[in-house]
């Protein structure tokens, strides 16, 4: 049952991750895209695309016998890749929010600057982050079974 749910969940999630990876590739080709909610621009957009593309492939290749350790490991690896990309983005936002910025004092930029840092548009990995955390449940279960 757990395996079936995992297969379906990470199958769908894998397709979404893969699609975001391809979207970042396309965005690289057209010189970047920034919408109301989604940001597919920046110097490293192609690298983010590559990482998400392969993460999506890893998820999809893990759906058969999902709870088998070798298959599960691929999903864990894909999730770690998403965590790295999202982690860097979150850290960048935190790092920008500590010093006062060009117009501000020593610490914490003015409210407008601060809002601009934290409100959308976000890169795809930030939207994918909460959904990828589902893997922690399977890691925990695997650990418990081992015990």
């Amino acid at each position: 049952m757990k395996s079936k749910f995992g297969s379906i969940y990470f199958g769908i999630f894998g397709i979404v991750v893969l699609a975001f990876g391809i979207a970042e590739f396309i965005a690289t080709g057209i010189g970047g895209y920034t919408g109301r909610w989604l940001d597919l621009s920046g110097t490293f957009v192609i690298w983010r695309g590559i990482i998400l593309f392969f993460a999506g492939l890893f998820y999809l290749s893990s759906i058969k016998k999902f709870t088998e350790i070798h298959q599960l490991a691929k999903s864990v690896m894909a999730s770690i890749m998403i965590w790295i990309v999202a982690g860097v983005e979150i850290f960048a936002k935190i790092a920008s929010s500590i010093p006062g910025g060009e117009e501000g004092g020593w610490f914490i930029p003015p409210t407008e600057e601060l809002t601009e840092i934290w409100i959308p548009p976000y890169i795809p990995a930030l939207y994918l982050l909460p959904f990828s955390l589902m893997i922690t449940y399977y890691i925990y279960t695997e650990k418990e079974e081992k015990k």
Binding site: T43, M81, V88, I98, G100
Partner: protein, 414 residues
């Protein structure tokens, strides 16, 4: 002395006698360990790790410390304060040497508004090591220690083993290469992990030329953030291309590798802290005096007119063969003392973006800094050392010319 085949046979024999084979259920850590060394899964994962490494490096060193606090401290407080209290004022030789040489604007000497351009011992001499480099090196060694302690670095060595064999090295050459990205000096010392003289010679040469140190990367990130990918690509092509040529012409053996790959584990904060402190403090002890001496020597050369003389003498070569302005002679001289200082000096020279890119690449490859030179001399005998120097000179001559040619062909000077 056993050769490689004999060693493997011996290992087989010992294993047959000592190892008992039975059922073993792999853990998640084991399988992750396997996946990170297999090319199809390992390479995308390595890209993600390097992305994380670079992202943290830029944000921690660049956004948070250098841009966030240090530029403010040095440019808005330290420099104006020194400009107002230091005796002499603009145009005075001692003031120029210690605080601000100024620059000409429409025939008038004007004061600098940032520590990058001031080029005094007390301004650029302190801003470069403490305002920029310290944070870059700290960020680099923090992540490096983390990867080391988690157990990812040996896996990266296994992953790149095949590639590095093509240039006569083996996977463990990734350790001096990575360490060199922090500071070339520990990188040079780490070449001891390579077994043969040939491998060590190859590694030392490639390290001295194509591996920029963390300090230099930090300054590049400040100066040309949008072109840094191209700089790295040029250096990687040089590393692999010239490595391949060297491995064919240098006599000697390139044996196989036996690496002990530890299981993945949680790093301990105490270990990380110790490693980062040890490496960063050692780096500062070496770097700070050289940056200050560098500023002093370059300042003296400007004041005595020696720099103009050199620029005049080397000008035709620099402009015609490398396609960079003759004024880059000053950074090239400073680069012998500290590369980071030299890259910072490029910011004050008027040139096109392609010329700036070429100058940064050339500064990276043209000579290792003096401190690295000293350690290289310790690690190599005189014959090898002279061989390395000869090769460096030939390489920078060819590579600089090739970059100029690419610029002409692809319209880089428009």
């Amino acid at each position: 002395m056993l050769n490689v085949d004999e060693r493997w046979n011996l290992i087989d024999k010992i294993a047959k006698k000592t190892v008992k084979f039975g059922g073993y259920k792999a853990t998640l850590k084991d399988v992750l360990g396997e996946l990170t060394v297999k090319p199809w899964t390992g390479i995308p994962f390595a890209i993600a790790v390097i992305y994380g490494f670079w992202g943290f490096f830029c944000e921690f060193a660049g956004t948070l410390f250098t841009d966030g606090f240090m530029c403010k401290i040095f440019d808005e407080h330290w420099l104006p304060w020194l400009q107002s209290v230091f005796p002499g004022g603009l145009g005075n030789w001692f003031y120029a040497l210690m605080v601000d040489a100024g620059h000409m604007e429409n025939g008038v000497l004007v004061a600098s508004d940032n520590c990058f351009e001031a080029f005094g011992v007390l301004t650029s001499g302190l801003f470069v090591p403490f305002g920029v480099v310290l944070w870059a090196v700290l960020a680099f060694y923090l992540i490096f220690a983390l990867l080391e302690d988690v157990g990812y670095l040996p896996r990266l060595a296994v992953l790149v083993d095949t590639l590095l064999h093509k240039i006569g090295l083996h996977g463990y050459a990734i350790v001096p290469t990575f360490l060199g990205l922090g500071c070339n000096i520990p990188g040079v010392s780490a070449t001891r992990v390579l077994e043969t003289k040939k491998q060590r010679f190859l590694m030392l040469t490639l390290l001295g030329v194509f591996v920029p140190c963390g300090a230099q990367i930090g300054i590049m990130q400040e100066l040309i953030p949008d072109m840094i990918g191209w700089v790295f690509l040029s250096l990687a092509i040089g590393y692999l291309g010239f490595g391949y040529v060297l491995s064919k012409i240098v006599p000697g053996k390139s044996p196989e590798i036996l690496i002990d790959v530890p299981p993945y584990q949680m790093p301990t904060w105490r270990n990380i802290r110790r490693k980062v402190w040890l490496r960063t403090s050692r780096f500062l002890l070496v770097a700070v005096p050289f940056v200050i001496i560098g500023c002093f020597i370059v300042g003296i050369m400007y004041l005595t007119g020696a720099m103009d003389g050199l620029a005049w003498a080397l000008g035709p070569f620099l402009t015609r063969w490398w396609g960079v302005p003759s004024a880059t002679v000053a950074p090239l001289i400073a680069g012998f003392l500290r590369k980071d200082l030299a890259v910072g000096m490029l910011g004050g020279i008027e040139m096109s973006r392609y010329q700036l890119f070429t100058s940064v690449v050339l500064l990276s490859i043209y000579f290792p800094c003096l401190a690295t030179f000293a350690v290289m001399l310790k690690e190599e005998n005189w014959k090898q050392f002279l061989g390395t120097i000869g090769f460096l000179m030939a390489m920078v001559f060819i590579y600089g010319g090739a970059l100029h040619l690419i610029g002409i062909l692809f319209g880089g000077y428009k």
